[in-house]
């Protein structure tokens, strides 16, 4: 679950934090799309290097690094499935790198944008309030779910559960005593929050106003231009036959 740390907003004083969430989201989507379309190791490594620069500028490199431990489990699954279905270690490496680039594309965005700003950006894009609010709540609850996971994990370890013990199948089976209480708790909390919101008249007024509105500045326009330039270069590379 430590990989969730990569998606938790971290309050920092940085140029990346000050950017409008909309151009940041645009760049994040572009980076994600590129990591899905390309499998060339040079492209993926270049993307990763770019993301590391962004994370460094946002002063969130440490949070990103500490979240990597959680991704190791997914890398292990990728390698295991590759070996099981006749792939090679190299394809396992490429797919793992792709997953890393894919998750990092969103990681720097979430680490440097407040859930409120993301909500405002979604509202500005014309998305309904219910959807925007659900999304913000989901982001806000990442640390809560992480804490709950830790508490459940401790409770089960206190009953002799050892996640690190046994083969791959046993380890996956061992996750059940953690995932079931986590899922039940999350579903229950969802209902409780829905009730709490309803009793406070959520959605009673069809049109809501916001006291803070988003405004694009020079740095934001530069980021949009950079995203367009990046897409153009990558389309050109695709036309040249780079995979």
């Amino acid at each position: 679950m430590s990989f969730l740390k990569a998606f938790k907003y971290k309050r920092k004083e940085s140029a990346v934090h000050r950017l409008d969430p909309r151009p940041k989201f645009l760049l994040a989507v572009v980076l994600m799309a590129v990591s899905i379309v390309f499998t060339d190791i040079r492209v993926l490594l270049t993307l990763l290097a770019g993301q590391l620069i962004l994370l460094f500028l946002a002063k969130t490199l440490r949070e990103w690094v500490s979240s990597l431990k959680g991704l190791l489990f997914f890398f292990a699954i990728i390698f295991a499935t590759q070996i099981f279905f006749g792939g090679t270690l190299f394809t396992g490496f490429i797919l793992s790198l792709r997953l890393l680039v894919l998750s990092s594309s969103m990681s720097w965005f979430f680490l440097s944008s407040t859930p409120e700003d993301i909500g405002r950006a979604m509202g500005a894009a014309g998305l309904p309030l219910e959807l925007t609010f659900s999304f913000i709540m989901a982001i806000r609850f990442i640390p809560v779910i992480y804490d709950e996971f830790q508490s459940i994990y401790d409770a089960q370890r206190s009953r002799g559960l050892e996640l690190e013990k046994g083969g791959f199948r046993k380890r996956v089976r061992n996750l059940m005593p953690i995932l079931i209480p986590l899922l039940v708790g999350t579903i229950r909390r969802t209902y409780e929050i829905a009730d709490a919101m309803e009793v406070r008249a959520f959605g009673a007024s069809p049109k809501r106003t916001s006291y803070k509105s988003l405004k694009l500045k020079r740095g934001d326009y530069l980021l949009i231009l950079f995203s367009i330039l990046l897409v153009s270069i990558l389309i050109y590379l695709k036309l040249l036959g780079v995979e």
């Binding site: 500490s66 709950e148 508490s151 459940i152 401790d154 409770a155 089960q156 370890r157 206190s158 009953r159 002799g160 559960l161 050892e162 059940m176 005593p177 953690i178 079931i180 209480p181 039940v184 708790g185």
Partner: protein, 274 residues
């Protein structure tokens, strides 16, 4: 039976800058009943998790019968020191109550015959027999807590740490849990109760360790300790009813023994007669 010795313990969570526990020194001997008291965020649960190896000290040491917890796995420690989480639902995942009780025994590799015998015994002693085929999530708050304790006590650990046992409980459920814990104390098991509920603690534990901002500000006989107004205020606690009663009745020199309401009244009547 088990002896826990904590020496110069300092603990902080990864990535945190401040220590949650600072310079903790204590010894919990066999058969002791200890309440860990303190305000929210004082470090009570963190201390408890250090005592059973879920967390390892950053500095200093926690030793179980002379063995440093750093060299022991949580599973090995859990076999001797049971830990009941403050939220019983955090451990439920099985379809039935009996499967929930069985879980720990299976993890520890008990033989099947012994598992069945122990499950039967635990369901009986914790009054859960009639719910054995019920889903744990469908039980009431008190039943859930009983199940959580039963699913730990089923392998008879030498010590039990129980986090916030009375949270969200009505009076009858509270009395029930109190009875269970007092039975365990009478069996000479070490009991460590983490709670805000000083009245509950006063009914079960002889000794209290009072924490404030990660440091021990009091360690001694619970009733004596909690008659100290300054300490009680510093730890955002309240005096237990029995301590207040003893003071109101003028029973000076608070008894170190484990008095209930009846023995306090007996002492009061003896005092009146004399």
């Amino acid at each position: 039976m088990v002896e826990i010795v904590v020496e110069n313990l300092y603990f902080k969570y990864p990535e945190a800058s401040d220590y949650v526990l600072k310079n903790i020194n204590l010894r919990i001997g066999e058969g002791e009943s200890v309440a860990i008291l303190g305000e929210n965020g004082a470090g009570k649960t963190t201390l408890a998790k250090n005592l059973n190896g879920l967390l390892k000290p950053v500095e200093g040491s926690v030793k179980i019968d002379g063995v440093d917890t750093r060299s022991l796995s949580v599973a090995k420690m859990a076999r001797r020191i049971g830990f009941v989480n403050h939220n019983p639902e955090h451990q439920f995942f099985a379809e039935t109550v009996e499967d929930e009780v069985r879980f720990g025994l299976r993890n520890f590799g008990f033989p099947e015959e012994e598992i069945e015998r122990s499950v039967q015994e635990a369901l009986g002693s914790f009054g859960l027999e009639e719910y054995r085929r019920k889903n744990p999530f469908q039980l009431s708050g008190g039943e859930k807590k009983r199940l959580a304790i039963a699913s730990i006590m089923v392998w008879h650990p030498e010590a039990l740490i129980i986090d916030e046992p009375t949270i969200g409980m009505d009076y009858a459920q509270r009395l029930n849990i109190q009875g269970i814990l007092r039975n365990l104390v009478s069996e000479n098991r070490s009991i460590i109760v983490i709670t805000h509920d000083v009245d509950f603690a006063a009914n079960i534990c002889r000794r209290a360790i009072v924490l404030s901002r990660g440091e021990i500000i009091g360690d001694g006989v619970l009733r004596k300790l909690l008659s100290d107004r300054e300490l009680v205020e510093r730890a955002s606690l309240k005096k237990p009813f029995l301590v207040e009663l003893e003071e109101e009745l003028g029973l000076s020199g608070l008894e170190e023994n484990f008095d209930g309401l009846s023995s306090i009244l007996t002492r009061f009547f003896q005092k009146c007669r004399s």
